[in-house]
Symmetry: C2
């Protein structure tokens, strides 16, 4: 199978208000390092195990039942089809580099039965067929029908882009045409309680050139917050106000972030200032007030929702894996609108922490919630009754190559550093190859070897990278490497040129805005984009609950350990243990009877947050109180 030539995740090529143009997933090959390892584990372990789970959870069998090919009963929950579609999207992206016969056969088999299950009018949802036909589109708030359509369509677009085959795309088109008849300008107002179809419809428009899909997406965004409400008027469903009047991130986090991502797709096509005004306000609210240091989003268990500003409990962080992924997807779209490195910073933070934490190292177990503290007993699971997170990881990791670079007229943007080969053409048709070698994020040294020709390289200097340096063939670059920007090198590149990026990797103590009550007078260790945590198993000599970060962290050592957690840089050194028996003390005491900590130095090991809970269900903490405090 030949990969199709145009395999971007988001096709902004003709989007008038997207500065950046994509490279295809097939145009980037990961060649080593952490991301390549996670990518490969996804292909070799997660996606195959996922296929099994889709059978065992009755996700795939449902299609066999409704198509009449197998006898049996359809099983729920109502959003179950989407789990299959997300897996299929991931498997399709995987085929860009992974011509494995087995995987290709699974994909073909699944696509075939999906197509067979579709009704003649285009309808397709295993939960509302047969006896339940009359309930179609009767519960837009909670039935997830249009949401499932969205995931079908994203899978179809990926499948078409990678394989060049139209069979699944045609299924999506038929369904989209039905939705257009029902909810388009000639139909009734309608949208889904769970946004998702907005992104999908716009991508379908980009793939087919059919403007009606863009129009329908736009109408679905406009359907929210109407009076009388099209949905239920709730914050939970983002139906509390017209989208363009929304200024605060509220409600169900994944729903909200998918909506914001879809609206960004719409902006890329229309350039409507009111949309960007809303998106900028929401972005500020989410990433300046409501994000965990791990990139986790959605603080509350109740309603899987955003909390108020600065409401970020650690032990009870919800931080659903899907929400971190949704934030990643939204930032990617914002980044294509305008190459502001802050979007890439947030993506990288989420990727190396709150997203990768969702997957076990061996690749077959998942977190739904990603707390920043555990008292022990919390472990990843092989699948869930509500299984949105696992296949969201599948598709995210399988499409990772497509996120590393973007193009602009005459410019290659390097967003994320990973050993990789880029082989693409600039918008003007000029071929460009980049070879990147690095041990990032364990090392901050990156070698970029561009192919010959005149073009610009825009190299991201991460926001955390104070003291970054860029050299060309051993000589300092003219431009200054300002953290949180792209450093642009314009040259007539010669074969053999090497750009050396040096991002100083040192252990930093990071503090939270003091408005975050739960992180007050506390610190977290970071090294580059990687957030560290301590697991009880690495505090052999004390109780994690009594552990403090010393005032002087200069003695902490960071070292790569290939035998630990599939190879990580661990941080080791002294921390302080409060030896006062807090367990025995009252909850509240007057200041004059308050016993300040009595310190004992202990040796501790910090490991990357994403790798926690891979050595049993140990207690864990990200934030440690600072020993400076009174």
């Amino acid at each position: 199978m030949q990969p199709h030539t145009s395999t971007p995740i988001v096709q902004t090529k003709h989007s008038a208000h997207a500065c950046l143009k994509p490279v295809g997933v097939a145009e980037v090959k990961l060649t080593g390092g952490l991301l390549e390892e996670r990518y490969r584990t996804n292909l070799e372990a997660s996606i195959p195990a996922g296929w099994q789970q889709l059978w065992e959870s009755h996700t795939v069998p449902n299609f066999y039942v409704v198509s009449g090919r197998h006898p049996g009963e359809v099983k729920g929950p109502r959003y179950i089809d989407s789990d299959g579609y997300k897996w299929l999207e991931g498997a399709s992206w995987a085929l860009a580099h992974h011509g494995d016969d087995q995987l290709r056969q699974w994909v073909a088999e699944f696509v075939d039965v999906i197509a067979a299950a579709q009704e003649p009018d285009g309808y397709l949802n295993t939960q509302f067929m047969g006896e339940r036909t009359s309930r179609r589109f009767t519960d837009l708030n909670h039935a997830h029908e249009i949401y499932c359509f969205g995931h079908l369509t994203q899978a179809a677009v990926a499948h078409h882009r990678v394989t060049g085959e139209r069979n699944l795309l045609d299924v999506a088109i038929r369904y989209a045409d039905l939705l257009y008849r029902l909810f388009g300008p000639e139909g009734r107002w309608g949208t889904c309680g769970h946004p998702e179809a907005e992104m999908a419809l716009i991508e379908l428009y980009r793939e087919t050139g059919e403007k009606r899909y863009l129009e329908l997406a736009s109408r679905m965004i406009d359907a929210r917050g109407r009076k009388p409400p099209v949905l239920d008027g709730s914050h939970y469903l983002l139906d509390h106000a017209p989208f363009r009047e929304q200024r605060e991130a509220v409600g169900h986090a994944v729903r909200a972030l998918y909506l914001y991502a879809g609206a960004t797709d719409l902006y890329m096509e229309t350039g409507e200032p009111a949309l960007m005004e809303t998106l900028n306000a929401l972005w500020h609210d989410v990433f300046m007030r409501k994000m965990y240091v791990t990139g986790g989003l959605g603080a509350r268990y109740e309603g899987e929702a955003f909390g108020l500003a600065y409401e970020l409990p650690n032990l009870r962080a919800y931080a659903e894996t899907c929400a971190a992924i949704a934030g990643f997807m939204w930032n990617w779209r914002m980044l294509q609108v305008q190459p502001d490195a802050r979007y890439a910073d947030m993506m990288e933070l989420a990727l190396y922490n709150g997203i990768l934490s969702g997957l076990s190292l061996e690749g077959t177990r998942y977190f739904y919630m990603n707390p920043l503290e555990s008292r022990g007993g919390y472990e990843r699971q092989a699948w869930f009754g509500c299984a949105c997170c696992p296949p969201n990881i599948h598709r995210t990791l399988a499409s990772l190559p497509g996120y590393l670079y973007s193009l602009e007229e005459g410019t290659v943007y390097v967003h994320f550093y990973a050993s990789s080969e880029l082989n693409t053409r600039l918008p003007n048709g000029q071929p460009v190859r980049l070879q990147v070698q690095t041990d990032y994020p364990w090392s901050g040294d990156i070698s970029v070897r561009p192919s010959a020709g005149r073009y610009r390289l825009a190299l991201r200097v991460p926001g955390w990278a104070s003291g970054a340096e860029v050299r060309v063939n051993g000589h300092s670059a003219d431009a200054e490497a300002v953290p949180g920007t792209y450093l642009v090198l314009e040259r007539d590149w010669q074969e053999g040129d090497e750009v050396q990026v040096h991002l100083p990797m040192f252990v930093q103590v990071v503090r939270a805005n003091p408005r975050v009550e739960e992180d007050r007078a506390s610190g977290v260790l970071m090294r580059g984009p990687v957030v560290y945590c301590v697991e009880q198993v690495d505090v052999p000599d004390g109780n994690l609950m009594e552990l403090y970060l010393p005032a002087d962290t200069g003695g902490l050592e960071a070292q790569y350990d290939s035998s630990l957690l599939k190879g990580v840089v661990a941080i080791t050194g002294s921390a302080l243990l409060d030896t006062v028996a807090r367990e025995e003390q009252p909850l509240y005491v007057p200041m004059h009877r308050y016993e300040p900590p009595r310190w004992r130095e202990v040796q501790v090991r910090w490991v990357p947050y994403y790798a926690w809970a891979n050595r049993g269900a140990s207690a864990m903490k990200v934030w440690l109180p600072l020993a400076l405090q009174p």
Copy 2:
């Protein structure tokens, strides 16, 4: 109407394993001060308005419908009868001192229709009669039938004790006899998803001498945690383990605390060591690890449940009013078992803070949740769809007089200080009168004038009362006033004797166990048993979110202001405002870029927590960060 002579809330007179014996609600008259004001407001405003709400919410009309006296439909929710019964319990206690014709008529009318609604076999629940008869006792997990029986019975016992009339008591007895047939030793195992009936059945046993009710209560406690489960086996319903194996407070807080209270009642009758072992462990877990500084209990919104140890978020504190009351009821029972002042300390903390906060100053609006921080917009409501809290306040305040004192052979215990007259007889028949005069909790000076005779006075020295002094007729008492104990004075009291208790009332900064992440490096102001908070309206010159407690709080002034919040001691003085524009700063920064606070002194007023949100829906904080921190 003559009050019946024996009106204790919990009748421990013949309970072999209760050290303390009760005084009657009718034997104590509140004569002034804060508790008397709240007591009177409850009688004059809350209980009458509650009667109206019981009509408007269809609670009372349901009984008219099922009794066939009025046409119409029965309305839910399933636990709605209990709201009426709790009000009726409160109204009955109120009649002990409040011979108001109107109230007496309401009580009589309600009792009459309740009796008329009862089925011949004793069954009585408006939600499972008529067409819904077949659903009786088919959902012990969630139907709340036995729970409603419990509240009926508590109302019936109160009504009988205060009025001497048997009509409601006989209704309860008939229903109890039905339950005994169904769930007693000859019946099936059964109990209620919502504990409550355990306390009620034991009180019914105490009122009637009928041992079967004790037996049934015991069996209902034994029904939990069986295999296979009688309920659903969940932590939420306290069905995860046999009661005697439970060691941690988990699940729905009100359910848990009612169960613990009922088990304490059982212990008072049986003295079974295994029960007390469990109760001690649970008490330690609740009050040493899971209680808010306001006495609030049940941290989590999800499941209205206890969190893990030290999981005490302020902004998202659930702290249901009913849970604080349930904790108060449990501690009262533990205190009767054994006069350990720590139980009274916890009761007093809850009463003056997390319970009183549930009622508006004018007495007709209620909090269900009692958070320790608000960003504004949170206000009390006149009633709720789930209206458990309002009538729980009615019955608690109406029975308050009965909580002030207990008796032991030859001893009068003074648990709570309030201007009041006690007129009782010791267990040996000796008449005793006490006259107490005080402005407590605004003042710590208390005058106790005992009637003549030889007996002991056991005066509670609250745990917070460092430097307490007790004098008799102006001379130092021989015994030392140790905080957290009862000081016992044994004398041959003469007419005219005066005991002067001096509890130094000063503003204290209280700190939390450092394991409580949300309160780390923070402090709360307390004065005596009263917890203070700051409302935004009292920080005219800054944002409450940026307010810090200064290192030196010596300059804070506490002064009674009769015009403020119906008369409170307010605290005024300087606090510090961080003037760094935190709103504009990133959420997370490396230590070397962390901007420490820049202080500006501002004048602030603190008010008692219980009185917050009585001047509009202002933002509010209990805990303030200490300006000492780095």
